[in-house]
Amino acid sequence: MTIEFETPKPIVQMNAMLKTVAENMMRSTSREMDENEHAIPWDYVEFMHTAMRSMGGGGGLTVTEGKPKEGDEKRPPLGYQKLASQIEMLAWGDVGYYLITPGGGLGAAAVAAAGSPEQKERFLARFNDDKPTYAAMCMTEPGAGSDTSAIRARAVLDEKTNEWVINGEKIFVTGGDKSFNEYEKLGKGFIVVWASIDPSAGRSGMRAFVVESGTPGVKVTKLEHKLGIRASDTASISLVDARVPFENVLGKPTVEKTTTGFKGAMATFDATRPLVAASGIGVARAALEFLKEKLAENGVEIRYGLPRTKLTSIEKDVIDMEIQLRSAWLLTLKAVWMADNKKSNALESSMSKVRAGDVVTKITQKAVEIMGPLGYSREFLLEKWFRDAKITDIYEGTGQINRLVVARQILGYTGAELR
């Protein structure tokens, strides 16, 4: 190992291509999609699906290792680093669009993390079909957010038919509509529902179930109207006596007194938190670049290298924003680099999320402030990026939950010791 900061060639090449997509297919219609909540930018969806398939990356934005050419030296794994860079660049274009990039998303991630080989084959192959296809994760409930042990959804095995019968109310399901409801232009997706098979067992009774789109008893009851990321649908889903085949449970169908079922969900978070950080960082970079461009147009130059006492207030702010943004990105890179190298990254993964959640909200807030009326006007996308950035500090574990994870890690405390 060594210490190195050279952006790997495959990432440089990929970013150049994605930047064109971001400029031509995302930025151009960003405002329109923001003003028409829940409209679907089909051009982007179909283009991305075709592009990802032709590159052999079926399953949407996932961890992929390029095939080494013959004679190539063996190179270290890059999958997560590539993915984080892709996400950062797409979010720089429009984070709402990024969130509806076709593919398995968190639903497929749960299958990949906790499913058997047979389940992976059965559920994940579809993402490489002709039509763009979605999957979503249903965990949050009206009474259970960060405290997932409060989940009340229930799954009972009907031994006569060998089916699970699921009842529950799920909210804040990202992509829930496109994953569950049927669209002519979309393939048949699924949702992954977290429910308890034994409420007396607490977290060890928690299991994830794959529920195919169109399953009777399951309904998308509401699409939320949000502060930002409006191109992405956030669904409420109700399950009333929904029946799914026995084989659709991820992990063991019986309860032992361990927390493995739940740990599956938590391990998914170690992998996805830096990716959420990356998406926020893309938005903040867009805002900071816009700010610097506008300042330059107005003859304001940032004089790097001066002592603080000689800087203007705007210069100080911009310099601090650059420090925040770059350091958050490096933390994120470190977390995904660890994942690629099979190093346990629970600490770094939460650190990157804490830092990104903090800085992307601060950067976008400050950029709007500095731009004044231009920042507040909907003529420019800056005010939208301010709204879009805020979600970074909320979903995939709020900044506070992630502080708790970091604190437990550095103090060597269990959940019981530091509640």
Binding site: I3, I319, I323, S327, L404, L411, E417
Partner: protein, 362 residues
């Protein structure tokens, strides 16, 4: 490629420096600060770790090539022990490293081997001036060319070990550009204050004021001079690295104290109010560590924006160390305010980074 782990050689160095910092510097820090002196034996032991020696090519008596990244790792570990002690041990590099980076072949021949192969000796550097908006790129000390020589006028402050220094590099304004000049102990017109500087912190490091009245000096790099930007970037990165060490020390003390101290039937670390403070300190520290590593890596690889990165790392790390060391005191509560406990010295040291540029170089 991206990669975030020291190599084997660097790890061995970190371990060796870390051992010295924890076993020698740390226990000595309190008394050294209070008595305004570091035991010479302590400094020599640190010198024998060979940081500068390992950064100097064989041709000049050393045994390696300079790597800013490796030096950053070493400086952090060293400063974890004690900032004043770390700066004292590494003080000869304030003279040797600028010569390595910008000196002429004759200057390298004249000084480097002597410094590298000898015991620790007081060679030093003088950058800081006594003004509220001190700016290394707009110095008030002036240099004028007179024939083949240069004549310096002005006053420098916070010059470590100046009183006994064999020679020092004085930075001065030459037609609007900062350049370093080699000034020898016996130079006419050079006067050094009798008394040490009295500062808020790092009092164990003996620092002096240096006055220059028509002092004849030799320009670093000879007639064509040198790139001061490279030296300044190396100083900023070194400061950032030292800030990491000081912050790491404060976080370390605060974490351990919070796990010991009882309140309301639990350890205070079990309270989210305190645990979150610690978590944020750790996040800030790691963020600035990576920013500093990247700046050092850019410097080593001759990247165009290395100087800007060094400036950002220095600025960010200076803010970070103030935040972390302040919280270190806060977590100790009333005990943090008592000089018997180490966190108050760390807070005093933490405040200095923005103004103490030029006391270390990687």
């Amino acid at each position: 490629m991206y990669s975030f782990e020291p190599n084997e050689e660097q790890q061995m160095l970190i371990d060796a420096v870390g051992k010295y910092a924890a076993n020698d510097l740390r226990p000595a820090a309190h008394d050294a600060e209070e008595s305004h002196a570091l035991p010479p034996k302590l400094i020599n032991k640190g010198w024998e770790l060979g940081l500068l020696q390992a950064s100097t090519p064989e041709a000049y008596g050393g045994f390696g090539d300079r790597s800013a990244v490796t030096n950053v790792l070493a400086v952090e570990e060293m400063a974890f022990g004690d900032l004043a002690g770390a700066l004292a041990v590494m003080n000869p590099s304030l003279f040797a490293t600028p010569i390595l980076l910008g000196g002429s072949e004759e200057q390298k021949q004249e000084y480097l081997t002597k410094i590298i192969e000898g015991a620790w000796a007081p060679y030093t550097g003088a950058l800081i001036e006594y003004s509220f908006n001190f700016d290394p790129n707009e110095l008030k000390t002036t240099a004028k060319a007179e024939g083949n020589a240069y004549v310096l006028n002005g006053e420098k402050v916070f010059v470590p070990f100046a009183k006994d220094a064999e020679a020092l590099i004085v930075y001065a304004n030459l037609n609007g550009v900062t350049q370093g000049f080699i000034v020898k102990k016996e130079a006419v017109g050079l006067s050094i204050s009798a008394e040490c500087e009295k500062l808020m912190g790092i009092n164990a490091l003996p620092m002096y004021r240096v006055k220059l009245e028509n002092v004849t000096a030799e320009r670093l790099g000879g007639a064509s001079g040198h790139d001061f930007g490279l030296i300044l970037a190396s100083m900023r990165i070194a400061s950032a690295a030292a800030a990491l060490g000081v912050a790491k020390s404060s976080l370390d003390y605060a974490k351990n104290y919070a796990k010991e101290r009882d309140a309301f039937g639990v350890k205070i670390a079990q309270k989210q109010a305190v645990a979150f403070m610690l978590a944020e300190m750790a996040v800030e520290l790691e963020s600035m560590r990576l920013l500093t590593w990247e700046a050092a890596w850019k410097l080593d690889n001759g990247k165009e924006d290395a100087a800007t990165s060094a400036y950002l790392a220095f600025t960010g790390a200076s803010d970070m160390v103030m935040m972390v060391t302040d919280r270190g005191v806060q977590i100790y509560g009333g005990h943090g305010y008592i000089r018997e406990n180490p966190v108050e010295l760390l807070m005093r040291n933490g405040r200095g980074f923005l103004m103490l540029l030029g006391l270390a170089i990687v």
